[in-house]
């Protein structure tokens, strides 16, 4: 198969971890006989520095022409404490999501037996956790208008907005995923307060009869924020709006103890994008110490979700598991034992795939 993959490394540790994913993807291509073409684009602070724009048209063209996008991370602290900055790296991320139509962010949470002891939660609560969030990614308060300030600058406002269509397409993905899993769907909203949430709940209620094999539960976002920590095993598939998804998927990411390993996919009408859920981790940038496994596992998701190549995806998961069981890992998971550089881990994984 021929595949055109756009690489958008972004900021901070983004470039380093993308480099390792590329090594692994190339090795898979070589082993399974695929021709893989890479094209690169800048995004985020890196793009502002280079072009003045956080998601330049040239990058969008690269991404839109590709079969799949591998994305690193975005964000630079020099922009964070300047609330008046006109251009911010995050705008690049939002523009990218919007222009590529990536309306569903899929974030699995699962455990690696060799890492579960790193969870802040007690073993019995977290062992065997396996749920997946479908977060709406191109609507809600992230894009709603009007937003801004009054003339004197003494009042600020944002608009949260959802249409039935936006909710329906995301919810259907959740229902379908639930059908292939444990058949439990949790709709997370704040229907006791927000008009948008009431439309979410109503829309999901209307869809439910089409999926009679799926049990649907409706929970308020504040309750889920509690129960995710108390009883994370109770969940299977969760669907939610953009902002709630932002908060809850990050909360979920620390549950398994393997935050540095969690991949994600952003799906839409055509293009599919894959990225680690960790951020740009600026303190580690350029030091060759960042854990590349989340990005490598995102590449595995890419083979499965974008190209329907399950064997290739499995080959990547297998070497990642091997690296964990053999302790060939970066310092964040080495537990004080011998550890390896970001680039060494990438080389090792690629070599094992070809071995």
């Amino acid at each position: 198969m021929e595949m055109n993959i756009a690489l958008l490394p972004g900021d901070g540790i983004g470039p380093e971890v993308i480099d390792q994913a590329v090594k692994v993807v190339k090795a898979v291509g070589q082993k399974f006989g695929h021709q893989i073409n890479f094209t690169e684009g800048v995004v985020g602070a890196a793009a502002i520095d280079a072009t003045g724009e956080p998601y330049p048209d040239s990058t969008h063209e690269v991404a839109a022409a590709s079969d799949a996008v591998l994305f690193g991370a975005i964000g630079d602290p020099k922009y964070d404490n300047d609330p008046k900055a006109k251009v911010r790296p995050e705008q690049g991320l939002l523009l990218m999501r919007q222009k590529l139509g990536l309306f569903a962010n899929v974030r699995p949470t699962f455990t690696f037996p060799s890492l579960v002891h790193k969870s802040p939660l007690k073993l019995e609560r977290v062992e065997g956790v396996d749920f997946v969030f479908f977060r709406e990614l191109t609507g809600g308060v992230y894009f709603g208008e009007p937003r801004g300030r009054n003339e004197q600058g003494t009042k600020a406002f944002d608009t949260n907005m959802y249409s039935k269509e936006e909710i329906t397409r995301l919810a259907r993905m959740g229902f379908e995923a639930a059908q292939k899993r444990r058949k439990l769907l949790t709709c997370v909203d704040k229907a006791n307060v927000m008009a948008t949430s009431r439309l979410w709940r109503e829309t999901v209620q209307e869809l439910a009869p089409e999926y009679p094999d799926v049990k649907v539960e409706y929970e308020f976002v504040d309750a889920v924020a509690m129960r995710l920590i108390q009883w994370p095993k109770a969940y299977d598939v969760l669907i939610t709006e953009n902002l709630f998804g932002d908060i809850l998927t990050d909360e979920a990411s620390v549950i398994s103890g393997s935050m540095g390993l969690m991949p994600s996919a952003s799906l839409g009408t055509s293009i599919k994008l894959f990225e680690p859920i960790h951020g740009s981790y600026p303190q580690a940038a350029g030091k060759d110490i960042a854990n590349p496994l989340a990005t490598v596992l995102s590449a595995a998701m890419m083979f499965e979700y974008a190209f329907d190549l399950k064997e290739e995806a499995q080959a990547i998961s297998d070497v990642v598991n091997l690296s964990l069981s053999e302790g060939y890992a970066t310092e964040d998971i080495a537990d004080g034992g011998p550890s390896y550089k970001t680039s060494e881990v990438g080389d090792w994984l690629a070599a094992k795939i070809l071995a």
Copy 2:
């Protein structure tokens, strides 16, 4: 001292737990020589059933004329899955907060040594946790206009809105609390996405020089959702807007393992209200099994915050600690050992205060 206390038991287990707090408050009054007058009002589903309104004027008059309000809980599942219901119990809560001007919800999270083993988190992460949230309670998306649907009903929208004044008065409370504690203030926002959050951050940045002894940190809400579980001891005072506060304070409530014991205060320009942070727990209503300690400790907060009576507050905390160490507690904290009814715990506490 003469004190006029309004009792708003609300729904579910509200009436039962308020009953126990009343026993304890009466005992304190008797012991310390205060004359305490109680007046009752209906609110929530109970009020809808009785009057058609979730926060009737008669209840508001009772609350507004009081020196302090003791509130139980609100919410009835019969309203939850009916997104089209015109009147909802929660509206009573929101109206009450708004009409009483309760703009700051103060929620401490701390541990009880005898209960910390119940935390879903590992002991070393949670032992000694001690932070407090100041959640803005009368603004944001809970009250912003416009909100609703388009004519066809296919689109819904909510408005989040904050003024500098609203942010300032809440932030000042946080700064002042931090000065009396460990001098660390965390401003929680989503300034990389939301206009309201940028006003929050800007306003807090402008106030910070007035409190030079307080170290201020700015963190995104998604990062806090993670770090609250990973490193809960890192926090001291957190300030945030209404919706983020709703989610994060509920998340925080399960950290200590003593959710059934966590009290809260809602403060404003005049009236002060005190309530347990747990909900109406309808499954337990009427069974005399609900844990009354959070409400009893809310009454302790009332003596301290509303009447500046620290000794009285301490007397209540002391008997609560005694009940825990002697195992005179409801089944949720009895660990399979002998347990006592809600009403028995209330009687016991009141008797111990007078002993």
